[in-house]
Every structure is written in C-alpha cells, then in structure tokens.
C-alpha cells in the first residue's frame, strides 16, 4: 500500500523526521512511556515524540548504566550522549519502573536539553486518593510546561487535544480490529510501522493519514491468504518489525497484542465531556495496565484471557526486553493462566538485537506447528 510508505519511513528514521520537524520550527519533547500525558504536550502546541533508542553506539551507556539495565534504557542514554537527540527541546519522564526512574535522574544530571519533567504518577490505579493525586500531578505538569515555554494551556486547548487523541486512538483501534478480523488486509510489519510512526509523527498530519489508511483498508478485500494460526504478542516494547514477518513466514499472524508499543498505547477513550485533567486521569485508570502499575493482583491475567477469547487467539508469544523486572515478575502467572485455559504459549527474550533469523524462524515454526 502506497499510503503506508511514509509510516515506514518515519518508523525507520524517526530522528530524521524529528530533525525536519524541528527545521520547520516545531518544539519537540521526548518521552519513554505510554503513561506520558501526551495530550497536555499537544495542547501546549509542542510535539510529543516517543523515544525507543536507536540501538547504535549502545556501549556509550556503559559510562552511566550497568550491563543489567534493559536495552531501551541503555540505548536511549547512548543516543543522548552521542548527540543524536539534539533536536529535542526537552524530555518527560512519567514514573513507571525502577530503571526508567533512575534513568530520569541520570538524564537530568548529565544532559541539558531544555525542558525536563518527572511526572510522578501514582503506582496504584484503584483508589480515589490515587485518582485525585494523579489529577494534581497532571496539573503540575501542565503548569511546568506553561512556565518553561511561557505559554498558557487553556481548557479549550486541552479539549481539542482530547478530541484529536480520541480520533487517533480510535483509528488505530479500528485498524487493529480490521486486521484481527482478516490479517491479510495489512501485514504485521506494516501495522507495526503504522503504530510506531503514530508515536512519532505530527499528530494533526497523522490523524489525516491514519484516517486515509483506515478508509483504504475498509475498501480492501482481504486475500484470505493469511488464514493461518492467530497469535497474540504480550510483553513490553516490540521494536523489531522482523518478528511479525517471521511469524507470518511460520504460517501465523499476530492478531492482537498487549504491548506498550501496541494496544496499551492506544486503548481507552477519553471522555470529552468531563473536566480535561479528570478525563485524562480516568483513562489511565481504565486502560489496560502496565505491570509497573497496580489495579489488582489478577488484572493483567484477566485482561489477557479476555483478549485471547475476544480475538480467537490460538497461541501467545511472550516477548520482552531482557532485564524488565515488572514483566518478568508477571510472566509465570500469566503463563499459568494460559496453561490452565489450554492456550499454548512461548517466551522470547531479547536485548537490542534479536536472535539470528534462522534460529528464530525455527522456534516460531515449531511453536506454530504445535497449535
């Protein structure tokens, strides 16, 4: 699909895209986590851009971070040290895991990109006091943006941002659903590029282009070629488009995911009629939870089984970056939930590089053959 070319380009060269945006006079704030209140950044007229780390010159991070930090944290630090993030006007760190929490300190002490904010969100997402605390934290963040950039973020700005983000997230959800219904309408690596680029592109431009992709997909008749096994990918960040291609070569397709670079990023609508800060907080309380946050001891397992049933999933691939504590703690129980429900599953752990292609393909083929 020609309309997907730009998504691929952006996904492959996010820093080039950012530099061009910067040349056009945009101010860019980098962020790491799906709990970043992007809507407030957008409402300020700034450009929010998710950082994944380029995985180049990763050894540079050795000066600040131990080898047992995850490759996202190490790669991001390496990038900022190498000067690859010079296009940023600042960085935002929402509170998530222990590693990002310390990266925030190390970043603050060793870089000078202009704006810097820790958005210390609650870890509990199931009490009224946590909700009120979150609203106050979001308001503080808004104030910090206003002060640093000498601007005013009005309720009107916030409401427009909420409408825009609902539109974008709605489109992504619809595209995911179309793909889940008939995986042959768009390949896994194309879909990957669309979601990833959605965290990088100018959001107004994105909204138009996503709507166009959705429209095109709706017109398209699937080839029905990919009628193989239906898989779900569960983990932290999947930053490897090759995974989708290899899975498809093994005779299966990823029809849904629980990834922070996937559904956890875009699921959950924001109520446009509620007071904006409350509405933003409410979304965080209802969207699928990251394991670094707490809703209940069983929340993620129940969510996973629900998604498996809803999307008629044949098997689950756990994919996670090595040294991710929150996900590693959840894996045994999620696996147990799936085992009890009779859903085959496998675990794949990676650092900045995937295992050799041949080896990975064999693992996927063996797994798919079992289904």
């Amino acid at each position: 699909m020609e309309s997907l070319r730009e998504f691929h380009e952006v996904a492959q060269n996010p820093y080039r895209y950012a530099a061009e945006l910067k040349d056009r006079g945009r101010k860019i704030l980098g962020y790491f986590c799906s709990y970043t209140p992007e809507e407030i950044i957008y409402a300020a007229g700034l450009h929010p851009m998710r950082l994944f780390g380029s995985k180049e010159h990763i050894h540079l991070a050795d000066k600040h971070l131990q080898s047992y930090s995850c490759s996202l944290v190490r790669s991001a630090m390496a990038d900022v040290m190498a000067g690859s993030l010079a296009f940023l006007d600042g960085t935002v760190f929402p509170h998530t895991c222990d590693s990002i929490q310390r990266l925030s300190d190390i970043w603050r002490l060793n870089t000078n990109l202009g704006f810097f904010a820790d958005v210390v969100l609650p870890v509990k997402l199931n009490t009224e006091s946590a909700r009120e605390y979150m609203i106050a934290v979001l308001a503080r963040f808004k104030g910090e943006l206003e002060e640093h950039f000498s601007l005013k973020i009005t309720d009107g700005n916030l409401r427009s941002a909420i409408v825009r983000y609902n539109e974008i997230r709605g489109c992504l959800t619809s595209i995911y659903e179309l793909h889940a219904k008939d995986p042959s309408v768009i390949s896994g690596s194309d879909l990957y590029a669309v979601v990833r680029a959605s965290m990088i592109m100018d959001r107004d431009d994105l909204a138009v282009k996503l709507a166009a992709v959705l429209h095109e997909l709706k017109q398209k008749q699937g080839t029905g070629r990919n009628s193989g096994k239906r898989l779900m990918l569960v983990g932290n960040i999947c930053d490897h488009p090759d995974i989708y291609t290899l899975i498809e070569r093994s005779g299966a397709a990823v029809v849904w995911d629980d990834l922070c670079s996937g559904t956890r990023y875009f699921e959950g609508k924001i109520d446009p009629d509620t007071e904006p800060m409350t509405a933003l907080a409410n979304r965080y309380f209802t969207r699928p939870v990251c394991p670094a946050k707490h809703v209940s001891p069983f929340a993620r397992g129940e969510h996973l089984l629900g998604q498996v049933r809803e999307h008629r999933v044949d098997g689950v691939i756990f994919f996670q970056l090595k040294f991710c504590d929150p996900h590693s703690f959840d894996y045994p129980y999620l696996k147990e939930f799936l085992d009890r429900a009779g859903i085959p599953n496998m675990m794949l752990e990676a650092e900045d590089q995937l295992p050799p292609e041949g080896q990975l393909l064999t693992r996927f083929e063996t797994f798919v053959a079992m289904l």
């Binding site: 603050r108 509990k124 001891p297 504590d325 703690f329």
Partner: protein, 413 residues
C-alpha cells in the same frame, strides 16, 4: 595463641548472643501466632510498621528472611527453584528466594508463618509491588499498597496529601482485617518508641566515627535486624541502649573492630549476605575497616521529617522520603556527608544485580565522589543472596588492587 584468642574475644560483641535470642523468640512467636489468636502481616522492610504494632499484628519481613537465607547459603538453591517456576534469574534474589520458599516451607526456619494480610510500601522499589502481588495470589489474602511517590528533586504538596490520605486508608484496612478499632492513644506510645529506637540505632552507627572504630559495617548488617523487624517496641529500645553502652565501653578501652585499623572504608548498597565473613576478613587482611554503610543508615535517615508530637501524621512523609526513594544527586549528598562524618579513605560500591533502584546511578555517584572527595572507589558486582553470582577470585583480585591504590593514596607505599 591464647593471647590472640583473648584479643578476638574482646572485639566480639556480648550483645550478639542476646540479639540472636530476641530474634529467635520473635520468630517463635510469629510462627505460633495462629495458636495464640494473633494475626500476621507480611510487610516490606521500609514499610510503615507502627500501625501494625498498635493493632497487635505480628509483622513479618520477607526481606529479613531473605537476608537469613543468604547468610545461610541457601539462596542459590532457592533462586534456582524460583527459576524453575518461571522467574528470570535477573530478578531480585530476595524476591526469588522468598517466592520459592512459600510453597515448600524452605529456608533456615522452615518457611515464614502464613500471612493474614500483606502490606507493601513501594518506597524501596517497584519490585516489592510485583513480589507482593505474587504472594497475594498465592496466599489469597488482602494486600494493602502504601504508594509513596518517588522524590526525584523534592516532596510535592500533592504527594503529601496523597500519602496522608493513604495512612487513613491503611488504618481502615487494618481495622477491617482485625475486626477492631485502631487505638490512637497507643499509637502515640508506639511512635515514641519507634523514634527512640531510630535515634539509638543512629547513635550505634555514629560510634563508627571514633578512630579506631569499635564497629564494622558487617556488625551493623547483623544488628540491623531489630530496627527492621521490631521497630516501635520497647525491645528495640532496650537492646540498642545496651549495645550502645557496650560500644562506649569498647571505645573507652580502645578496642577496635579490626585489629590494626589503618584504612577506613564506606560500603554502599545491600550486603553480599553469603560473603559477609569472607569480605570482612579480606578487608581486615589489608588493615581496612568498613566503618559505615549507606544501607543500615536508611532505617534512621528520615528521622528529620518526623514530628515527635505528631508521629502518625508525620510518618507518612518520613516513609516517603527515605534514602532509596530520592534522586541520585540526593543520595550522593548523603554519601558525601558520610565520607566526611566517618572520615573514610575509600568507597566500596556493591553493584547489586538484585536492586536496580539502589544500583543504577552508582556510576554517577562514583564519579561525583572521586571528583569532589578525591577518594578511590571500587565496584563489586553480585546478587545479594544468590551465591552463584559471586566470582570470588575476580573480586579478590580487585580488592587487592583497590587496597594498593588506597595505600598509595595515603602515601603508605
């Protein structure tokens, strides 16, 4: 020979035996709680324990048990069991050992007593949240999470409001779990004892400022168990008062913890529990005494935030602003202060694969210490209770090299 034994005896702490008795009684009471109609709560080491004491609930600390497992060299085996259960070998070894213990009643005292409730305070790490979720599923008991917002650069008003409200929620949780009202009058007394215990513990640690030091960090790791487990009780106050008295006697008699103390070092991070003696002997063989550490100080480091006349409301802030729940630069400041206070010649950092919030940032602290304090630093990498992760020959060589640098630095070579 007899004389050497006599010297060694003098250096030993008479209080050590007493502490073992107290800990033994504590675990006996905890393990027979059910027979005595008492409830047991598992709680994180830096958690707000005082309300449990007020409610007569016996607090049990999986982390203290983790330390015991490590010291008994049972960590490697239990961690391996956890790995067989699906837990990655990169995870915290306290958590792995504890999770593996539960189903098999493993570890030195045959497992911890079954909890009636779980209290998890995330002021030490995000790991405890996941660990307590695991145990909440396993034991199927209520879990209270005391969420202490991380203080990168300060403590915000909204964080203050949030933690104070949680204190009320915590009390309501305990009232529900115990089926009776919280006794606010008693909480005043428990608060007073807690603060008194913390003050005495700080005084015990302060004794290391004396040259030569009557106490090593290894002794502190041992004596720490009481301020962790029985904070808020008279037992702790009495015991540390006695220990302090013994410390003063040693100072007066000129008895040093390390026979020929020539070099004084500061330890950072949790201990390597299964190598306490080896490390202690190794450093002593270089006439070096690890006089202090950042870890044991953490149980009295946030006293400044406690209002003696209003313990209950101020404790929420104090628990939020503990050593690990602050930014790397704040932690570095504490390290600088300790370097000056204890007049140390070098810093030994344990890069602890089990504890990311303690370890990530150490490289920056190391640089700051070298720049501002001009003292040598070294790193030892391991998992605190998983002895499989400790490379003895490599670490031994590094300690020798580090001590050479210290000696040169002091102009002794």
């Amino acid at each position: 020979m007899a004389q050497i034994d006599e010297e060694k005896k003098k250096r030993k702490f008479k209080s050590a035996g007493k502490m073992r008795d107290i800990m033994f009684e504590y675990y006996v009471e905890a393990k027979s709680a059910g027979d005595n109609g008492k409830k047991v709560a598992w709680i994180t080491s830096g958690g707000p324990v005082e309300p449990l004491i007020v409610m007569d609930v016996i607090p049990v600390y999986p982390e203290n048990y983790g330390a015991m497992i490590g010291a008994s060299h049972m960590g490697g085996d239990l961690c391996e069991k956890a790995e067989a259960m699906g837990y990655s070998s990169d995870l915290c070894s306290y958590a792995r050992a504890d999770i593996a213990c539960a189903p098999v009643n493993g570890g030195p005292i045959g497992g911890l007593p079954r909890p009636d409730m779980l209290v998890c305070c995330n002021n030490i790490c995000g790991t405890v949240l996941k660990w307590y979720e695991v145990q909440a599923r396993y034991f199927n008991v209520p879990l209270f999470i005391f969420d202490t917002p991380f203080c990168h650069t300060g403590f915000s008003d909204e964080a203050r409001t949030y933690v104070r409200r949680q204190l009320n929620e915590y009390i309501a949780f305990l009232e529900g779990a115990c089926g009776r009202k919280f006794d606010f009058d008693r909480s005043i007394e428990v608060g007073r004892l807690s603060l008194q215990g913390q003050r005495l513990w700080q005084e015990v640690l302060d004794a290391a400022a004396h040259k030569p030091s009557p106490i090593t960090a290894f002794d502190a790791f041992f004596f720490l168990a009481l301020i962790v487990t029985l904070r808020g009780t008279q037992t702790v106050v009495d015991f540390y008062a006695e220990l302090l008295h013994e410390m003063k006697e040693k100072v007066a008699a000129g008895i040093s913890a390390v026979p020929r103390e020539r070099y004084r070092l500061l330890w950072d991070n949790l201990p390597v529990w299964y190598r306490l003696k080896w490390l202690s002997d190794k450093f002593a063989s270089h006439d070096a005494c690890l006089v202090a550490d950042t870890y044991t100080t953490a149980w009295c480091g946030s006293m400044k935030y406690i209002d003696e006349n209003d313990f209950l409301s101020s404790m929420a802030e104090a628990y939020t602003r503990i050593y690990l729940n602050i930014g790397v630069d704040e932690m570095a400041k504490t390290v600088f202060e300790m370097i000056d206070k204890y007049d140390v010649d070098g810093l030994v950092m344990h890069s602890n694969r089990s504890c990311k919030p303690y370890s990530l940032g150490q490289y920056d602290i190391q640089r700051m210490v070298q720049e501002r304090k001009g003292i040598p630093c070294m790193m030892i990498e391991s998992h605190m209770v998983d002895e499989r992760s400790f490379s003895e020959s490599q670490i031994s060589t590094r300690i020798d090299a580090f001590m050479e640098i210290i000696k040169q630095h002091k102009g002794h070579v």
